[in-house]
């Protein structure tokens, strides 16, 4: 039984605020932290504090960083003529894990979802346009989700960038590599057929 109002209760309440953590999971995590080396718990607390205090959006691309510029924007070897527009900072991580893109990113901070109150003014679209207007950008790759809202966000961004002279592209879609046609759904096949390329 956890004492009501005590520090343990406080920890449980904080843990249950995390996504996917209910009261039982919170209790399990709390007991795990206390049962082993207490230094692990202190290290976790320090890491959480450091993240909360130091992490902020990159001045240029809005990726998360603990410096003025994120590592990608600060890297002189990256191609500044290519900007890959993504919805969230975690999307940057996905592309970086793939390791094939050598340009820069721009994090919108979400997607255009007016039904949920997410209008264009809440995204960093105006900063994207400013970046393009500053010059040096040859291509903007719109890498928003392949959903109606993601496509709508891409369409909105493409309309904003029209007239800037920059090439605007959208990520390809269709069959996932390594899968089989048998497992593909109708939409994947339709997308793959529509986006086929010369062999």
């Amino acid at each position: 039984m956890v004492e009501s109002g005590g520090v343990m209760q406080e920890l449980l309440e904080e843990l249950t605020k995390l996504p996917g953590i209910g009261p039982k999971s919170a209790e399990r995590i709390a007991h795990f932290l206390l049962s082993g080396d207490r230094q692990n718990a202190v290290a976790l607390a320090d890491a959480l504090r450091a993240v909360a205090e130091k992490i902020r959006p990159c001045r240029e691309c809005f990726n998360l960083t603990d410096r003025e510029l994120c590592p990608v924007c600060a890297d002189p070897r990256r191609d500044g003529g290519l900007i890959c527009v993504v919805e969230m900072p975690r999307d940057v991580n996905s592309f970086e894990r793939a390791g094939t893109f050598r340009g820069l990113y721009h994090v919108l901070g979400g997607k255009l979802a007016p039904l949920d109150g997410m209008g264009p003014d809440r995204l960093t679209l105006n900063v994207l346009v400013e970046r393009v207007r500053r010059g040096g950008v040859k291509e903007v790759i719109l890498a928003t989700s392949p959903t109606l809202e993601g496509d709508g966000t891409a369409l909105f961004a493409a309309n904003l960038l029209e007239g800037t002279g920059v090439t605007v592209t959208r990520l390809a879609r269709g069959l996932p590599s390594g899968s089989s046609l048998e497992l593909a759904n109708a939409q994947m096949l339709a997308d793959a057929m529509e986006g086929r390329r010369r062999f």
């Binding site: 996504p19 996917g20 007016p114 039904l115 109150g117 264009p120 003014d121 679209l125 105006n126 346009v129 393009v132 207007r133 959903t147 109606l148 809202e149 496509d151 709508g152 369409l155 909105f156 309309n159 904003l160 960038l161 029209e162 007239g163 800037t164 002279g165 996932p176 497992l183 759904n185 109708a186 939409q187 994947m188």
Partner: protein
């Protein structure tokens, strides 16, 4: 729990846990249904890609006996509307249809004609032949730098000067929505006293959302939310609502007037201004 089958339009969705999704569906057979799709976010699931917004799908779901979320067990995409991905006017109009269905109908209150009207509206949007050119700036205005403003990313919506024809489909859908909900405006006689409202030679009448239709010159002044409606606007509205009368082929002369009136009427019925109304009308 009995398994039910339905044809559904996805009108709202939110992620739930790492792999599941809560979806609001407007079904032809049962009206609005809110259901949990366990594993609905996985690439390989029983749900195909059916839960993207404004997708028509065949669903199988387990109806909960005592309220709460129903449980989706299967979904297969039946139809998507490509124009929504190519035209912002169409996309916003589609979102508006979704908002009226999701927020303006009750759970398990079926309206097959409303479902059909929603699908017909979405189906009616066509992919523009080419991307429209940027609007020319108003006279005297300094030329805008390359790129469009955030407030008006596409032409034809700045300040509502030129309302897009997409709005005519929206107007027609709103009238079906109002009719199905029992709020179809009365346009033949005064809602206050039953008198004839458009005597020969009259150029405008009064209309009130709270009164539910047109008002005569005697009853009208006493109603606070009254607004003027031109004779041409009234004729167009009658044409759109009465099955026997033919609507005018071109609504452009009264489009702005009808939009303002229906926006007020829909807001009255919904109890608030629809979130998407400003987007649809470009304001």
């Amino acid at each position: 729990m009995a398994a039910e089958k339905a044809l559904a339009l996805v009108v709202r969705g939110t992620d739930w846990s790492e792999t599941s999704r809560i979806t609001t569906l407007f079904t032809r057979e049962f009206g609005k249904v809110r259901a949990l799709a366990k594993g609905g976010r996985r690439l390989k699931s029983n749900f195909d890609v059916a839960f993207d917004l404004l997708t028509v799908c065949h669903i199988v779901f387990l109806r909960k006996a005592h309220g709460g979320l129903d449980l989706l067990t299967e979904a297969q995409m039946a139809e998507r509307f490509p124009a929504l991905r190519h035209d912002l006017h169409a996309l916003y109009a589609g979102y508006y249809v979704a908002e009226l269905l999701a927020d303006g109908t009750q759970d398990y209150d079926p309206h097959p004609p409303l479902f059909d009207a929603a699908v017909a509206t979405l189906r009616g949007f066509t992919i523009p032949a080419s991307r429209p050119s940027p609007p020319s700036p108003p006279e005297g205005a300094s030329p805008e730098p390359a790129g469009r403003s955030l407030a008006h990313p596409f032409p034809g919506n700045a300040g509502g000067v030129s309302l897009p024809p997409t709005l005519d489909s929206v107007t027609a859908f709103e009238l079906v929505w109002l009719k199905e909900l029992g709020y179809s405006p009365r346009l033949d006689v005064c809602t206050g006293c039953g008198a004839r409202v458009l005597p020969p030679g009259a150029v405008r009448v009064l209309f009130s959302p709270s009164a539910g239709g047109v008002l005569c010159s005697v009853c009208g002044p006493g109603v606070s939310d009254r607004r003027a409606l031109s004779a041409a606007g009234l004729t167009a509205l009658r044409g759109l609502t009465a099955p026997g009368e033919q609507p005018p082929p071109d609504l452009s002369p009264v489009r702005g007037e009808l939009r303002a009136l229906l926006g007020q009427l829909v807001s009255f019925v919904l109890g608030r201004r629809p979130r998407l109304l400003g987007y649809v009308e470009g304001r």
